[in-house]
Symmetry: C2
């Protein structure tokens, strides 16, 4: 399944004229397989064994390329650095205020919100963003003091 995703993603890139370099392959693969929401720096550190000479700029450059190709979404929460999420199908995130863990969940479209907003404000609506915040079961049940992902 994730192999299919990777192949599809590479095809998407190729067909929009983007070269497939080993670094790009690796970053994409990491994003798809990690099933997490890594920061640019996490990706960089995860791949530095395989690419000892790769620079952070390469990670940022390629994340931008992927974002512009519609493969990756950039998540900006309150904390200092952005997180990057490989776009599979529509899902939302719930984030633990305590340890920072991010869990995906699905919810049938919020199209009506977009419609109302468009009607009230006169905007042409393109997309929306929604997150839920709370405390994960590990943190609320006791002493989970680690800052996860």
């Amino acid at each position: 399944m994730s192999e299919t995703q990777l192949r599809d993603a590479l095809n998407t890139l190729k067909s929009s004229g983007v070269r497939i370099t080993p670094q790009r392959h690796a970053i994409l693969e990491y994003l798809i397989h990690s099933m997490s929401h890594p920061t640019a720096d996490e990706i960089y550190r995860a791949l530095e064994k395989t690419f000892p000479n790769m620079s952070v700029a390469t990670v940022y450059n390629n994340l931008r390329v992927f974002r512009e190709a519609g493969l990756v979404k950039e998540l900006t929460y309150g904390d200092s650095s952005s997180r990057f999420d490989f776009i599979t199908h529509d899902h939302y995130h719930i984030i633990c205020n305590d340890c920072g863990k991010i869990v995906d969940f699905h919810y049938p479209g919020l199209d009506e919100v977009e419609q109302l907003a468009s009607h009230v404000t006169g905007f042409e609506v393109e997309s929306h963003r929604m997150e839920v915040y709370g405390t994960c079961s590990a943190c609320s049940s006791g002493g989970n003091r680690a800052k996860a992902q």
Copy 2:
């Protein structure tokens, strides 16, 4: 009406043991009256006539104090700097992808989303965040090239 808001906010601060300095008064007043969603730097520049010696750190410090007191919400979008929103009553934001303008709109609670998310993920839900993105009428109708607010 906004006078009431200001007075209430000052009382909230006092009752949680926060000193009311002239700078704090001015920042709060600016946030309430501006009806916009300024960055820390915008607040700083707006008040530098009145407080020529005020430093940016003061703005940041006090925005943090206000946030911790529940008076102000910090909005982190994709762009480099945070925006700050005086909390009146629940509303959402629609943001122009073109010029960055932020318009408020109201929408009856998304409590069911919180409930579903809580049920599916096991989190104790505390809050949620939602924004709509699109193009404002000024930008979609023609040549609004300015980067507003």
